[in-house]
Every structure is written in structure tokens, then in C-alpha cells.
Amino acid sequence: MLSTFSVSRILFPNIQSLGILTPKLLNLGPYTLDFTSSGRHMAVGGRKGHLAIVDMKTMGLIKEFQVRETVRDVVFLHNDLFFAAAQKSMANILMTGRYPYIYNRDGTELHCLKEHGAVLRLQFLKNHFLLASINNFGQLHYQDVTMGEMVGSYRTGIGRTDAMQVNPYNGVVALGQSLGTVSMWKPTSSAPLLRLLCHKGPVSAIAFHPNGHLMATAGKERKIKLWDLRKLGDEPLQTLPGNAKTLDFSQKGLLACQLGNGSSVQILRDLDGNQTYKTYMNHGMVKGFQIEKLLFRPYEDVLGIGHSMGWSSILIPGAGEPNFDTLVANPFETSKQRRESEVHSLLDKLPAETIMLDPAKIGTLKPERKKEKPTKQEKVAGIEAAVEVVKAIKLKKKTKGRSKPSKRTIKKKELIAKAKSPFLAQEMKEEEQVARKKQKTIEYVETPTSLLRFVRKKATA
């Protein structure tokens, strides 16, 4: 066992100064965590309504408050000023207080996102400014947090799941399913981009390598599997034992997973660079601590562990990216810089359509449509071809004046008309459809104001 550095800080480090070490609060767990992209701030959400923001540099509590509702998940928005929490009121079954909320760092509730429903997991897509959520009916919502517009809302049809993870490379959301399938979604399509049968049991956790090519999934059948997303195959790259409820990749590609019955942590590492992960470290928590969330802190060799008794952090050498790029994320950001970067990130915001499995495809040649409508020229060509065929037909010589030139011309014309008619009928049909659609939209607007007085009022009941 290589449990070398176990700098385990149980609960908040300077609890005394904050005065929150009251026995009652101890029961607010298990805790879930989220870091800002710079790793400077951490949001903590206790299952029983305890929300807090901590400055990780000074280890000082910025704000904590009790929402008196079940907190399922917390997630930072683009910076430490705002965070979203998925909540559910505990008071009554019939009361319907089960929405995600957006708070600012002072704990003021800014928004209640009712459309999302009873959300189980939240994810924020940093580059696209989208807040993605999955609720207990398996509905996936994407909301643009800049303008508040609901970008996509889909019924995934996969049932209740709380395994949801965003691929940081391309913004695709992966959802785990009770049937062992992982499906990947984007905000502009109602059908999953990809479905992958990963496990025999329900999928309990998903994690993506920061480069987006490696995916780790954990199933309830006590298996952790690693998948190469560039070359999808029936078999995983690697299968490891372990019943993980939470997984996380560090910036440098270390994989943290929960082990055993939830109170010990295992760190795996790809030592040779050939995508074979081996045990790097193990860390045993006090038995009975249910680990809820494992999350590496960006730009630090620290793993945050949210568990039933609070939050701990342990040191994992080589986990974080040592060289930070201040244009990307700056852990030592001043408020002025933060404002600046906020504006920049808003200007650089990517539209939701850019989310796709392979973003490198953007700008390449448009993929061919399978069933493209025939163009006008093609249609005309079709008609012409049909007419030509008919024209080529030689009429039989008939007696009794049936071969009179006039009759012949009439006959020819008839034949041509006959050949054309199916095309024309098709065209008419299409036009009709278009017209109907148009009418639908126009119907209400169409009547001019002068005629409004003659319009019958709609029946009220």
C-alpha cells in the first residue's frame, strides 16, 4: 500500500475560526464539490442543504448558507461569482420545490431554473456557456446562461440516472444508463450521437481524460473500464476491478476512483504512456465515510474528496498541470483580471452547434446528405427524360382516319402529358405541404385590421 501522503483534512480546515464545527452540521453530508477552472475556488454542497464557497488559496470560507433543501449537485458557472445548485425540497412530497438555482458568491439566489425540473446532476460547458442538467425523468436540458435561452431540451428515454459528465474536449455530454449503456448527447440533436454498451450492470460514474480521447466508466457490476473514444470498439482498452460511484481524471491524466465499499480511494496512473492504467496510490478513509465525489483540483497536486462527513483533500504528486496559462485559467487572478477574462470568454463564446463528436471536422467539406431533395434542375431533367422517352415512341399506322395528323398530334400530346403528370403531381404535393405549413404560422396574423371586427371570437370553453 502506497498511502504515502494522506494530508487529510476532515471538514473545513479552519473550522474554529469559521465557527461551523457544530455537531449538527456534521450530518449535512455527504458532500459534493466543484472547483473553478483555475482551481482557486471550491463550491461545496452538503446533501442536506449546506452550500459553501471556499477560497482554496487562503483556505478561507467565502460564504456558507443553508438552503433547507436536498442538494444534489453544485457546479460553478464560468467563474467563481456564480454557481448553480440542484435542489429539492425535503418538506413535503406534494410540494414541488425541486429545481436548480443559481446563486452568486454572496449566496443570493439569482435564478430559479424551473424548466429543468428535479435535477440530479448539473454540468457547465465553459466554452459554450451552457448549463446542462439531467432530471429524474431522464430529461436533458441545455440552458444558455448568457441570455437564459433554453438551447435544447430532450427526453433521453434512458430513465433516471445520475451519471453525467461533459467531455471537456468537445462539449459532448455523456450519460450513463441503467442498462450499462453510455450515450453521448449534444444540444442540437434529439437523438444521441453515440451509444456504447459499456457494462453489464448500471453505469454509476463516467469520467473523461482532459484530452477527450479517453473515457473511464464504472459499472455497478464492480468494473471500471477505460475506452478509447477515437477508435471505438466492442472491447474496452482496459478493465479494472472496482465499484466506483465516482471517478475523476486529473489534468495530467491520473484517474481517481473510489474503491471497495466507498471509503477508500485509489489513484491509477498510466505510467508507460500506452494507456494501461496501474495503481499509483491508495488512500483509506475512515471506515463508514461514504465518498460522494472525487475531484482533482486544477493546477494543484490535490484531490478533493467529498464524503458523508465533509470534505477532505489529499496530496497526489503529479496530478495537476504545473504550468498554468493565464490566458486559459489563472489561479492568482485579481478581480480586474477576472472581469477582463469574463468579457473575453463571453466574446469567445462558442455557439451550441459547434458541439460535435469531432470538433476538428468544423470547416471541412459538408458531409453528403443521404436523402437530399432533388434540385430543381434534377427535377426538370427527370421530366425531360420522361418526355424524351415518350417522344421516341413511334405510333402505329392505323386505318380509318385514326392516323390523321391531327389525331396523331393529339395522341402525342396526351402521351407527353401523361409522362409529365406524376412529376407534376409530386411537385404539387410538396407545394401543398409547404403552403400548409406556412398557413399554420400565418393563420393568426393574416387577417388585416380592417377585417378584425368580422372575426368571430374563439369559443372560450
Partner: protein, 905 residues
Amino acid sequence: MAQTKRKSRDGGGGDKAKGKRGKPGGKKQKGADARERKGPRLPNVLRKEVERLNPIEDEEIDSDEAEVYGRDFYEYEEELPEEEKRKNRRFDPVENLEYQLPEEFEDENVSSDDDDNDMGDAGEDEDEDEDDDDDDDDGRQGIARIPAFEGKKKRNTNVVVSEAYPESEYNPTRDTLDGEGPVNIEDLLNPLHGKSGYSKLRKRIHHLEKKSVPTPAPLPKADQEKLERMAAHEKSKEELQKWEPIIKRNREAPTIYFDDDMDLRSSRASDFKPRTEFEKKIASLVYDDQVKDAHLKDGSRLLELNKVSAEDERDRHNRMAKMRSLLFRHEMKSKHIKKIKSKTYHRLLKKDRVKATSVQSQMDPDTAKELAMKQEYERAKERMTLRHKGTSKWTKRIKERGIDVQDEGTRAAIAEQQHLHAQLTRKMNSMKDGSSSSSSDDSSDEDDIDVYSPGSDHARAVKLLEKAKEKTRNVLKDDDENEVPNSGVLSLPFMVRGLKKRNEAAAEEAKLALQEYESWSNPLEDSSGADNLNVGPPSGRMVFNGSKKNAPESSNKTKTGNKMRTDNYYANSDSEDDLEPEENVDVENDRSSDFHKDVNISTALLHEDSQNHKDSLFKNFGDIVQDPGPKTTHEVSIFASGSWKKIKSSNSADANGKKSTCRLESVERNQNLQEPVEDLDEDSDADSEGQMVDGILSSNPKDEYRLPSQAELIRQAFAADDVEDEFEKEKQEVLNEENPEPEKPTLLPGWGQWTHVQKKKGLPSWMQKEHEDAKKKREETLKKRKDAHLKRVIISEKLDKKAEKLFTKTLPYPFTSKEVFEQSIRMPLGPEFNPASAVGALNRPEVMKRPGVIIRPVEFEEVNPQGKVEDHKQIGKKQKKRNQSNKSRSSSDKIVTKVKTKLKS
């Protein structure tokens, strides 16, 4: 003048002819014959008079000719005796000569090549040919005729010539007249030697001598024009080709600079030079030395300069007064005119005015031009919008036959029609402006929402309900929004009241309906959620729960049982969730089962039950959980027991089947059994506080934590073995959705089945073949899919319409293959990926220009066409550039080809 001259000569000629009349022989006789038939009959005396008069006239005009004629005249005078016959008709020939001769002469022209050659000579010449036997005025004619008519020579032997005139071409020598030494063209030409135009004439004659082939008729005008155009095209092509290297260079240059020959001085104010008269005048005033001085020194001098003399002032005053009086008079005049009531007067006035303007427009080139431009513009515009929509039989026929073949009137009519159509369309366009239509988007959105439905009845039902809800909500909203009209009958107070009442009633009803929908949809949603989960076999904990009893009969589980178990699973997975999920789940569960069996158990009742049982179970709880361990251990053990009990209860529910009363009991029991879980949670909150701390400090979990047995673990792991089958099914579904299976060919029942023979035949072969083809095609496409060989992967091949704009539509010009293009765009251009020296070149715009620079047209200069463009940029840039240039090039190519085709046609 010419006319009179000709007349006179004709007259003269006629007289001469008279002289010739008696002689036998060709031309003269012919002329004489004409004369004979038509000539007026004059008494000798009178004729003499005429003859005497005419030469005088001639003389007045052309003395030379007169002389000649005069002489000839004398010669012919001698042969008068035969004339007596024609004396009666003497006036006719004069008239006839006037009118008939041209015809005759034309005939002759065709036969004899002479006239074609002397194109320069006027008709005058030819007239003379007719009646003049004496062709000496034109040597060529003489030569052509003289050998032909031998008789003349013979006749001429008797001629007596008085040599009163100097010898010239008009006065042939005696030899010539005698016929000795034939006159050839050389003879005629020689005297002209040294005169201007001699060489030209000689050349022409040489040319004539060489080949006397008839000149071919001129080509038709169209062909001529075509040839001309061809020549012009050749010329213009040559002209244009010399620019090609320059244009090529400019196109290939990665960047064009417009700042190196910048010359801003020309536009500087100091360099301004007065050019027009006005400018000069102003300049002379402004740059006057005195004024300048005054400006420099002080203002008083300026005032001095500003002085106006008294005379000037008087002049001005007078001028003004004059103008004023003029104006007044004009005013008075117009007033007077206005007073005139005569309509005709005004009409005439107006007519005059119009005329004046039109004249002015004709006279003034500017206004005329303007008018023409306006009209031209109007016409061009019309032509642009003109669309002929001839649907009548007549127009169709005309069109079929071709408008070009039609006569003027028909064409005009067609044009009229077209004009009408144009007008109508314009009107239409003006009527409706920009109808908003984004229906397609809407529909697609709808599709997006609707596409994914689990396909079960539940989904449909839920959808229906949702729709209904939406509608009722809309109605409600409408009610709110419906405003009472401000005017009319409806605005009367009692009407308003009535409306309000009705609206309220409707709203009430809608609300009720909404509630009803809600109550229906809740169970539906639950069940649907459960169903989704139930598609697969139970897994994980679920199996662990129901393992022993339900394993064999897992296939025919009832719905309710299933549901319960799945819910259990999630409850378990959610175990740390909170207190009420358990209860919630159960209540929902029951409700759903109620829903299915049409038994109404009010939730209130259930609540009551649960409350009743809470207390008792609270006590039970103590038994179940004895050891005070950490919280987690509690949960595990309790869930184990709880779920086990749950299973039992659900089984009992199954057994009870449709007996609602019994089921009710079971539900209650179920509820009871569920309760401990919640209570436990609550309790654990309360009780385990102290223990928690203990747990942390001294944890002895070994004895508390009961590991599931190995057998259970294995079962847990492999219970859901048939997920693969499920996945297979799912994949099939997706495949069917994306590449739908061809429909099975069917005939209408009874169709084509008159006899059993036909029946035996079955479907027609073409139908079967079509079906086979469709099937094959589908298989092909399926094989081409990315996930064709992967059993556990489904890759959607749906195209995202919204993302289409992010792709390149067509392959840009220089590239021929997709791969190469995609490779080329991979190179990043940004400063993060390139050295600083290259970034500028990579991102430099195609045109560099400073504000204020006048871009002059390209000047011609010699460019080495083989020379390469210096300062080549990197590939990406160049390609980009080339794409652009390609566009322009292609357009220019198009124009060139257009021109060519025009020329060919």
C-alpha cells in the same frame, strides 16, 4: 440642275437619233427604233426650231459637249428622209424616254459588264449610253461597242468632218471615225498620263483586264455583320491578351498594395490652381495684393476697399427697378390670362406649352439625353421584371410556334400581355411586403421534440396529456388576454358582464381540466419512468433483492411488481438521498397500480395509513437496528431488510390480482413495510449524532459492516446478462429509424383475384423485384455504416442541420480532393501556433490600402509572363487568395465564353 441637264441632253440625243435613223445598224438603229415608235412627230420647221434651241441650252451648260453634239447633229441631219413616218407621234418618245429608259438600261447593264466596272460614274453617263451613238465622252464604252458594230464604221466612211475643233477625246480623229486603228484603252488612257488619279485608273483597268469575273453579290447583312464581329473579336482579343500577364500577376500576388505610389499632394489645398473662369475670377479677387495687404494690416483698409461708388449704386437701383416693373407686368399678364375663361384658349395654351417643352427637349441635348436615359432605365427595369405568364390557349399556341414567326401585330399583343403581367406583379409586390415565414424551422423544432419518444403507449399518453394541458393553458391565457372591446355592441355594460362571467366559467373549467390532466399524468410519468428502466432486466441491487423467489418467473412478472423493484433499485442507489424519496416512490407506485386497475385510492387515505403505522413501526425499528454503529451501516442493513420485505409485499400484490379490496390491504401493508426506512433515516439523524463522533474516533466497522456474500455478488454482477440483447434490439431500432426497412409489397384485398389462378400467382414480379432492390440497397447502406462491425456501439449518422453552416459547402477551386483540402485547413493561423515573423504574412489582408489613397486604374506595363511573384506567402494564405481570384476569373471566363457563343451564332 442635273435633271435639267439630262433632259436637255435627252432632247438633243433624240434629235441626233433622228439623223441616224436611215442607217442600218445595231445600237443606233435600236435607239432610233425606240424613237420611231415613241418619238413625237414634229413638223420640220418646228423641229428645226427645237434643234436650234437645244444646242444653245447645252452650250450654256457644257460648252464642250454642245460642240460635239453640234457637230454630230450636222452629220445626222443629212439622213432625214425616213423620218416622215413617225412624225405623228413625236411627243411620245420624249415622255417615254423619261420613264422607260431606266428599265432598259438596267437590262443592258446586266448583259454588258461595262457598267459594273465604272461604278464611279453616275447615271448620267448611262443615260447617254442609250441614245448617244457617239460614245466618245467615255472611251471604254466606245471601245466596247465599236468593234461590235461593224456597220457603223462602214457608215462612217462617208462622214465629212470639219476640223473646227481641236482634237481631243471628244473629237476623235478622222482615223478613229473611219474605223482605222481600233481605239483601245491605251489610247484613251494616254492623254491622261501624268494627271492625278491616273495610276489609280490604270491599276483598275489592269485589274479588269486580268479577270473579268462577275463580282459576286454582296453577302446577306447578317453574315456580313457576323464576319465583322468576328474580326472585331479577334482584334479585341489581341488587345486584351496583352493585359493577361499583368492581371495574372495581380491575381497571384498574395497582397496588393495601394500605398507605395501614394501622392497626396495633388489633393492639398495649397496646390490648388484655378482652372475654370469662375475659379479664376474668385482667385483674382481673393489673391488681390491690396486685399491681402489689408488683411495683413488692419480692418480699416478693408472697409475702404469695400466702398461702393454712387454711380454703381444708382445703376444697381435702376436695374432693380426695371426688374421689378418687368415682374409686375408679367404678373399682370398672367393674371389676365388666368381670367380668360375660354377652354379652347387654355387648351391651345397647354398644347403650346407641351410643344415647347418637347421642342426644348429635342433641341437641348442634355434634356434629351436625360429623357432618353430615363426611358431606357424604365425599359430595362421592366425587362428585368417582365415575366410572361401566358396561360391562354392562343398564347400557348403562339409560344409553341415561336414568337419570331409571328407577324408584327401578334408580337405586339404578346408584348402587351407581358407588360400587363409585369404591371400586375409589380402591384402584387407592392401589396405584400415581406411576409414572414420561418415555418420550416418551426416544424423542424417540433420534429426535434417529437422524434424521440420511447414508442410506448405511455409516452403517447403522456404526450397527449401534455398537449391537452398546453391547450387548456392556452385557453386560460387567452381568457386573461381577451380584452373587452372598447366600442360596438360588445362594449355595452351588460354584454361586458356576460362576457366576463362566461370567461370565468371557462377558466374554472379549464383549471379543473388541468388538474385532472395532472392527476393522470403523474402516474403515467411514474410508470413510464419505470418502464424505461424495466426494459432491461433487473440489475445490481434489484436482483439481489428479488433473487430467490422471482428468478425463475422473471419473464412474466406483472407490471406492478416490476415497477416496485425498479423503484427499489433507484431508491437504494439513492439511499443517502434523503428521507422522502422512499415514501414518495411508494406512494407513486401505489397510485400507478391504482391507475391501472381502476381503483381509486385517495392519496389522503394512504397518508393516513402511513401516519397510523408510523408509530408502531417506529417501535419495530428498534428491533431491526440494534447496534449503534455509524450511519452507513444502518442504512445498509435496513435497506437489505426493507427491500426484502418489499419484495414480499409486492408478491402478495401480484397474488391478489384484481381483487381490489385485498389489494388495498396489501398496499397498506406495503406502506407499513416501507415506513421503517424513513423512520430509520429520521432516527439516525437524531440518534447517531453521538455515535458518529465515536465512529470517527474509534471505528470498529468489521463487525457492523456486513459484506454481501460471494454468491450474491456474483449474481449481482451477472444478473443483467442480457443487456447485450437489449442493446442489439436498440441498435436495430436505430438502424430502422435511420434506414427504414422497405415496406412489404401488398395488394388491395381482392384486387386481381378474379380466379384462383390469379391468386396463386401472388404478387406481380415487378413488385417483388422492387422490394428486393430496396432491401439490397438498405443492406448496402447498413454495411457502409461506421458501426457496421461493432456490436456494442451505435454511432448516429443523422446530420445536424443547425451545424451545417459550420462546414464548407463545396470544394474550393484549386483543390481537387477533399482530403487535401481538409489537410490544408488544419494549419492554424494564429499567433499562438506560428512564429511572429510568419503571423503577419499569414494574416495579411489581400488588399493593403491607406485611407485617402486614390486607386488608379491599372496601367499597362511589360511584364514577364514567366516571372514568378516575389514574396510568396505560405500555402494557406495563397490558397485563400487563389480561391478569391478564382471567383473573378471564372466570371470573366464566363463573359468570354458568352461573347464567343454570340459570335458563333
